[in-house]
């Protein structure tokens, strides 16, 4: 019977699907399990035979790691938050114009901005180092926030334009008929309704500022506002394995890696609605 044949392929398909999912979930989570484990091990323990549960768990790596990173984490936070705020201030008006206004060069302008997403940013960091030195913002938090806009602007415009475009025009017109100017209609009606998109963009911008290594490393020096990520780079830096306090390093990776993950989990629904191409 053809039905049994179909069922057999159906079952195989299902089994394969579950197999793939299980494998990938494990492949993603197990490494973190080891990291978590080693971050609770005293230095003597991770040079012995591999084991998952620490024999003598200690918080030492976490406390010293946190101590070491505290200033950098504050920098990272300021940079991330600043990047998000500046990005929203710049792109909300722009995205709104691209969604709702007619003006000369609209389509070309939009694609020029979007295609900037495809630009290899590493090509910008060298001249920006030079420019920032000339402008006096090299090695400052503000300079970093400014530099990250080049990553953030294109996708913010993209996401926000879609959000604004999908809001019914009628609602805006209703606001205008009932006494709003364009501006007050925007503030009272459009902004609240576009909140999910704005939150998504804000979080993504924060993540950009928090996660980046390249600009963070090249636009700051040891004396300046170094964010947390480049600190990790210094720690191994091609050094031999024995001199590295792996426990502390792994605690630090988790300290740096957890905030973005939490943000992602909190903002997930927003992000997913924003990501549907």
């Amino acid at each position: 019977m053809s039905t049994t044949g179909y069922d057999a392929t159906g079952v195989t398909l299902k089994a394969t699907a579950y197999g793939v999912v299980a494998f990938l979930v494990l492949a993603n989570l197990v490494p973190f399990l080891f990291i978590l484990s080693v971050s609770f091990m005293p230095p003597s323990e991770f040079f012995t035979d591999p084991h998952l549960v620490p024999y003598e768990p200690t918080l030492e790596a976490w406390t010293s790691g946190f101590e070491e990173l505290r200033g950098n984490l504050v920098n990272s936070f300021l940079i991330g938050a600043g990047t998000a705020l500046l990005a929203l201030a710049i792109t909300i008006p722009g995205a709104y114009a691209f969604a709702r206004k007619e003006f000369y060069g609209k389509t070309a302008g939009f694609y020029a901005i979007i295609s900037a997403m495809m630009f290899p940013y590493i090509l910008l960091v060298i001249p920006i180092m030079d420019l920032w030195t000339a402008l006096g913002v090299y090695n400052t938090i503000f300079g970093m926030i400014l530099a990250y806009q080049v990553f953030v602007t294109p996708f913010s415009i993209w996401i926000l334009r879609d959000f604004f475009e999908n809001l019914p025009t009628d609602i805006e017109e209703a606001a205008q008929v009932y006494g709003c100017t364009q501006f007050t209609a925007f503030v009272r009606v459009i902004l609240p309704l576009a909140a999910p998109g704005i939150v998504a963009v804000g979080f993504l911008a924060f993540l950009t500022g928090w996660n980046d290594f390249l600009f963070a490393n090249l636009l700051t020096t040891g004396t300046g506002p170094v964010p947390a990520v480049p600190v990790l780079y210094g720690t191994i830096g091609g050094g031999s394995g024995e001199r590295v306090y792996w426990g502390k390093l792994m605690a630090e990776t988790l300290i740096i890696g957890t905030p973005p993950t939490i943000i992602y989990l909190v903002a997930r629904n927003y992000l997913e609605s924003a990501f549907s191409v």
Binding site: P93, I122, P127, V229
Partner: protein, 309 residues
């Protein structure tokens, strides 16, 4: 009558003024975005091109040297090693696509737990790439890392592998970690696009007797085409220009075996302070990435046309 006319004219001028005001307002709205893109992208880019024709020490005064930076690169043996490494390394994008496509299709079959599964998948992508690179630097550490620890303990391997001293193995490790880190991005885009394929399409394919494989080739894949194209193009460029993991895992070594162009660029700028050479490498990288994107898009178009016919 005359007062009416006056009224009219007043109304008109008022109107034109407001039209003007509104257009002016529109340009005001997009001004910041354009300004930022010019100041942050085009200005540096143009300056960079100019830099590549100069001897340009960091913080120092430039000297015009024409194409000497490019000539230097062409006559410099490691540059070719780097080109080769870059070409091989770019295959990571294909691996990412493969994993992402399999994951997206598999997740679609799930009845429940989709949310947990995609959250687990995205864990590696939400963290800073350098964090992930550091984590793998530990996991794959030949002497103390758990991967080789378990492999030797379970006698899968006789002794641990010092992959850091072998060019091909280092490249493999770097590619593995890059793939592991970044496939969720493609997963995100592809599964969003997959979710948006209407159920009716699958149902009608089944009604007309298409099997699972035919359904995939004739319904799913064509619908995913643009999502895949977008994801591929973005990832090709981003993969070739993200350097933090390579730096953390191998620092470009051994020798120049894992010094993909972006790493070379970084080293010239950061370690040697030769901004001119650095940017010359950048130009080569730009040409190469654009070339790759172009070829991918063309091949993809051709392949999907073939499948559709």
């Amino acid at each position: 009558m005359s007062t009416r006319r006056l009224f009219d004219i007043d109304g008109r001028t008022e109107r034109y003024r407001s039209v003007l005001r509104e257009n002016w307002f529109t340009y005001l709205l997009i001004m910041p975005v354009l300004l930022f893109l010019i100041v942050l992208m085009w200005l540096p880019f143009l300056q960079g091109i100019y830099m590549s024709f100069n001897e340009w020490p960091f913080g120092g005064d430039p000297t015009w040297i024409g194409a000497a930076n490019y000539e230097f690169l062409l006559n410099w043996e490691p540059f070719y090693t780097s080109l080769k490494a870059t070409a091989i390394f770019s295959l990571t994008t294909v691996f990412q696509l493969g994993v992402a496509l399999a994951a997206a299709l598999a997740v679609r079959e799930l009845r429940r737990g989709k949310s947990f599964v995609s959250a687990a998948f995205l864990l590696s992508y939400t963290m800073p790439p350098l964090v992930i690179g550091t984590i793998w630097a530990y996991l794959l550490e030949p002497d103390f890392g758990p991967v080789f620890g378990y492999l030797t303990e379970l006698n899968v391997l006789g002794e641990t592998i010092y992959w850091g001293s072998s060019g091909p193995m280092s490249l493999a490790v770097v590619m593995f970690v890059t793939t592991w880190t970044f496939w969720p991005f493609m997963f995100l885009i592809i599964s969003a696009s997959l979710e948006s394929i209407p159920e009716e399409l699958y149902e009608s394919a089944r009604m007309y007797g298409a099997g699972p494989i035919q359904t995939f080739l004739r319904v799913t894949l064509p619908q995913l085409k643009s999502a895949i194209l977008v994801a591929l193009s973005i990832r090709i460029i981003w993969n070739m220009t993200k350097i933090s993991q390579v730096l953390q895992l191998t620092n470009g070594g051994p020798g120049y075996d894992t010094s993909i162009l972006a790493v070379l660029l970084y080293q010239f700028a950061y370690e040697r302070g030769q901004m001119g050479v650095s940017y010359a490498i950048g130009i080569v990288l730009l040409v190469m990435t654009l070339g790759f994107v172009f070829v991918f898009i063309r091949e993809f178009e051709r392949a999907s046309e073939g499948a559709g016919a």
